[in-house]
Symmetry: C2
Subunit: 158 residues, 2 copies
């Protein structure tokens, strides 16, 4: 026997991977600015929490510190992030977006949003409204992060 909740969960399991694939493809497509999903999420997180430590990023992404360290390495060498020792606790590093990182993030966000917008552009206002409501509901059900891509930096420096 299945409940409406279960039917809905089944639909989630079917539909969500399709949307994810589309997002991943779009993010990875932009040649020099190419980002993986975790790289993208890191830049986004740093826009909202500039100066964050490695551990905080690792926790946010659900990755181990070594994996996160390596990923940050790559982003630093691409000049998208900077890493500086915190003076009040010299074990920690303060990680920030560079200007280039900030631009790459904007670029990735805009390109991906345009691509997603195209997918839903033919739908009626009512259907768009239904979608929007549903996404707010899902946001409540999966509250692991509260980061928004709408708003620019909360604080520009730490």
């Amino acid at each position: 026997m299945s409940s409406p909740q279960e039917d809905c969960a089944r639909d989630l399991l079917e539909v969500v991977p399709l949307v994810t694939r589309s997002i991943r493809t779009e993010l990875r497509q932009h040649r020099t600015q190419e980002l993986s999903v975790p790289q993208f999420r890191t830049l986004l997180f740093l826009r909202h929490k500039p100066g964050t430590s490695l551990i905080d990023i690792a926790n946010h992404l659900g990755l181990t510190p070594p994996s996160t360290s390596k990923m940050v390495d790559g982003l630093v060498s691409r000049d998208l992030l900077t890493r500086h020792i915190c003076e009040n606790d010299r074990r920690r590093i303060a990680i920030k977006l560079t200007e280039k990182g900030d631009k790459s993030l904007d670029f990735a966000i805009e390109a991906t949003i345009q691509s997603l917008t195209k997918r839903i552009s033919t739908f009626s206002p009512e259907r768009i409204e239904t979608l929007s409501c549903a996404l707010q509901i899902l946001r409540e059900a999966f509250p692991e992060t509260e980061i928004s891509i709408c708003n620019k930096p909360l604080q520009k420096s730490f």
Copy 2:
């Protein structure tokens, strides 16, 4: 300036990765039966198209044939799939779920659905209804595959 479509796309980009993470974690959690998302999708595809060739699976997943071959290798060695040469075209292989593969797939589907159901179990019937509608809309917008996890095999053999 942003349109309702664009706002909705922005929400998609924020919310969908959260749900994906939850699905991936659940699929990967079941010790001996652990599956990656592409492995899961392969088993699901084979339930609906038993006897499918390697190329067809590769196209379905959006992977290259070598990557797909290697993944199928792994699933065969775990006794979840069988591989046989097609007699009418000896270049092709017919890939099928084993009984164990079939059970693993059921197990993965059920565990994941239960986990997702739990996430949305506290919502009102109206909100569940909104979610369900939205998922049908998304299904139209991202129609890359028509595979359903609700229905058991269309044909049990090829």
